[in-house]
């Protein structure tokens, strides 16, 4: 069996995927197809491991790790059938830069929502330079799909053959045709903005502008089916400041203190919780231990 390629793609695109192609036959690989037509069986991700938690039991551990990239968060799960990955995950000390190869997975609870995750095969601690290189690779890859999808949108209907005639290789051409059939017309503007934002992340001249509001304005996270995206009102920045100032011993700011300090700034408890959720999603803060928040 030919080894599956390891896709470099952003969590922002991966987590939008709701289509899984089960492999026909015994050992045929399965794929998660993204709205831009990436047919993903294996991924290679370099990002910030923000937290690791045993969401299983002591007897049957199931380790969950969150890995942030400039566009969102990947979720990693490793259980007893991934002993090597589990062993590595259980020993990680977040935050840290991690390089992960793994297999694409989806989980669909009764509500019908599709959650994508990664079942890690290999995890290694790396440095920031490699993370930046990965972002560049993911940008190249995203750009290629954006261009191919733009071509596909000019066809009615797009076909594999027509795309391949334009130089799109077979796996992507096939993925694009499947994606169009499942998702309809992809929002190219949104993914182009995602690409631009990831590129700016690499460039020091844009770094001053990287306040959370600016980031939020550039890449609005995909609207979750059950709730409308809220416009940011500057509360995230305020909460981030609170968390930073309260983290005196380096172990993270205690929840009670954050609540009190936020109240003093006129932020209600519900708004605070929402702001923290958004900060968690963006990978700007994490929860080192239950009840404490820490800036990354």
């Amino acid at each position: 069996m030919i080894r599956e390629v390891a896709w470099r793609l952003f969590s922002g695109e991966y987590n939008d995927a709701t289509l899984e192609l089960a492999g026909g036959g015994d050992r045929a690989p399965s794929y998660v197809v993204t709205p831009l037509g990436a047919k993903v069986n294996r991924v290679f991700v370099v990002g910030v491991v923000t937290d690791v938690e045993n969401v299983g039991s002591e007897m049957q551990p199931m380790w969950r790790a969150r890995v942030a990239d400039p566009t969102g968060t990947f979720h990693l799960y490793a259980g007893q059938y991934q002993p090597e990955a589990s062993a590595v995950l259980s020993k990680l000390k977040p935050p840290m830069f991690g390089a992960i190869t793994g297999k694409s997975r989806t989980y669909t609870p009764d509500s019908g929502t599709v959650y994508t995750s990664i079942r890690p095969e290999r995890i290694k601690e790396v440095d920031g330079a490699l993370r930046d290189y990965w972002i560049l690779e993911a940008c190249r890859s995203l750009k290629k799909r954006l261009e191919a999808m733009a071509e596909a949108q000019r066809m009615d209907p797009p076909t594999k053959d027509a795309l391949m005639k334009l130089g799109v290789r077979e796996p992507l051409a096939d993925g694009i045709v499947q994606a169009v059939a499942h998702y309809g017309k992809a929002d190219l503007a949104r993914y182009t903005a995602m690409l631009a934002e990831a590129l700016r992340y690499l460039l020091p001249e844009f770094r001053e502008d990287r306040s959370p509001e600016a980031a939020a304005a550039q890449v609005e996270p995909a609207p979750a089916p059950e709730r409308e995206p809220e416009p940011d009102d500057g509360k995230e920045t305020a909460v981030l400041e609170v968390i930073t100032s309260l983290d005196k011993d380096g172990k993270g700011a205690p929840w009670d203190a954050i609540l009190t300090a936020s109240k003093a700034k006129g932020i209600a408890k519900e708004d605070l919780e929402e702001a923290i959720n958004r900060l968690l999603d963006k990978g700007l803060v994490y929860e080192p231990v239950l009840g404490r928040m820490k800036r990354i």
Binding site: M1, I2, R3, E4, V5, A6, W7, R8, G23, G24, G25, A28, F44, V46, A99, T101, E121, R122, K124, V126, A129, L130, D132, Y133, I135, L136, E137, C139, R140, S141, K143, R169, E170, P171, D174, T192, L195, A196, L199, R200, L202, L203, P204
Partner: protein, 453 residues
């Protein structure tokens, strides 16, 4: 179509019966015979077309025709719907291809009879195992054209039966003794050369050439082989006739054919070919053409490999058997638990190597780094590694150190890439850990985005 002219009456009668059966007895044999004769002799279409047309004309389904047209490989044309062959399997491979809704296991290779050889693909499982050298009677195969060459396909309607080996005289293809080509040669760039292409025309610069003496069927023969290149890539070549090829000259070769060695396409040419010398400035200089072209793994996979290519990717995993290994002194196989698979327990010779998965986002290949390269990457000699392993009482320390240094690193590797059913493999000649100016490329890409917005 000369091959149709000599169809004997007796053979025609079987086709008449075939048409009658396909039409369910709607027409009498006499009527069909008359009609068939008119198609063949008045309209001069091929027997296959004639049969199908008659069945269609009378409301039948041509798929019900059971008897194909017997042909020699040489007579095959593209677009035959139903053809019978008596052939020997010259080469046989298998692979999995992805098709609508999953993957499919197919056989492919080359078929031959005394007249010629032709590539083939079996898209459906055959009813028994076949191997190289088997003589097959093939009924109802169909043909297509691919890159100017006829290809034979076995589909659902095709029946394949094994014949005795003496049903077909064994023909050893002698280099230089092939059938002359018919028609104009097809122009190729080096990067587009694929197994089985014949009557190829190509303009390239000879980068190197040497004479080798080989024995063909007991007689010594000189073969002139080396490396040639155009702007698109490099290829090894073998000339079976002395064209007095000289290093650095630019030549136009017409009437060559393509063979593969471990998946890598190579150009071969013989008496049938013509070589014309061209002005040297028609192609970039040898120093430029000699550079190793940077290639994507997906393109290498599509071609089946490449000569002296450069790949940039991330070393995403190290395979089993990397690090300090011990080899059998007899056969050089790597020992497992102190024993050779063939020679049993032996005292092995130490060696150092890395077998790694290099993935560039378009595909993955296995890259094999030899001892010198591994020593350079480790910045340590094999003796130091042996001492280290002795102290730790395990060779794992060497492997772990290599993994620390290499895994997840972007690397550039140069070498020959071969392929088999497990995928691509590069025997690395040069390798370095890549340092990329991330900002420069990001800035360029961003400007491109904003420019187009």
């Amino acid at each position: 179509m000369p091959q149709e002219r000599d169809i004997v009456k007796e053979e025609l009668a079987t086709h008449v019966r075939d048409i009658t059966r396909a039409l369910g007895g709607k027409l009498s044999e006499q009527e069909i015979e008359k009609e068939l004769s008119s198609y063949l002799n008045v309209y001069r279409v091929s027997l296959d077309t004639a049969k199908r047309s008659i069945v269609k004309k009378h409301g039948g389904n041509p798929a019900n025709l059971a008897i194909g047209i017997g042909k020699t490989v040489r007579e095959l044309m593209p677009g035959e719907q139903s053809v019978n062959l008596l052939v020997r399997i010259v080469s046989l491979n298998e692979k999995d291809v992805s098709v609508e809704g999953g993957s499919k296991h197919i056989l492919y290779g080359i078929l031959g009879d005394p007249t010629a050889t032709v590539p083939f693909t079996a898209w459906e499982p055959l009813n028994g195992p076949i191997t190289r050298g088997d003589v097959l009677r093939v009924q109802n195969a169909y043909t297509k054209e691919y890159r100017g060459q006829v290809q034979v396909n076995f589909g659902v309607r095709t029946i394949v039966t094994k014949e005795k080996p003496d049903a077909l005289p064994e023909v050893k293809p002698t280099p230089g003794m092939g059938q002359p080509y018919v028609g104009k040669p097809t122009a190729f760039d080096v990067v587009d050369l694929r197994e089985g292409a014949s009557n190829v025309a190509l303009t390239a610069r000879i980068l190197s050439v040497e004479t080798r003496e080989v024995e063909v069927e007991g007689t010594p023969k000189s073969v002139f082989s080396g490396v040639l290149a155009d702007g698109t890539g490099k290829s090894q070549f073998s000339a079976w006739k002395d064209f007095s090829l000289k290093e650095d000259e630019v030549v136009r070769i017409e009437g060559a054919y393509v063979k593969t060695w471990r998946g890598i396409p190579q150009l071969s040419f013989d008496e049938r070919a013509t070589v014309t010398r061209l002005a040297s400035d028609g192609l970039p200089p040898a120093s430029k053409l000699g550079e190793s072209p940077r290639m994507w793994v997906e393109d290498l996979a599509e071609r089946g490999g490449g000569v002296d290519v450069t790949v940039r990717g991330i070393l995403i995993d190290m395979r089993e058997g990397s690090g300090l290994v011990y080899r059998c002194p007899e056969c050089k196989r790597v020992l497992r638990k102190g024993a050779c698979r063939i020679h049993g327990e032996v005292k092995g010779n130490a060696d150092l190597r890395v077998k790694a998965v290099v993935d560039d986002g378009s595909g993955a290949l296995t890259a094999v780094f030899n001892r010198e390269l591994t020593e350079a990457l480790l910045e340590k000699t094999i003796d130091a590694c042996i001492a280290q392993a002795k102290e730790a009482m395990s060779t794992d320390v060497v492997r772990d150190e290599l993994a620390d240094i290499l895994v997840a690193q972007p690397i550039e590797a140069r070498g020959n890439v071969t392929s088999d059913e497990y995928g691509l493999m590069m025997i690395v000649q040069e390798a370095k850990i890549l340092k990329v100016d991330v900002q420069e490329e990001a800035r360029e890409m961003l400007e491109g985005l904003e420019g187009s917005a």
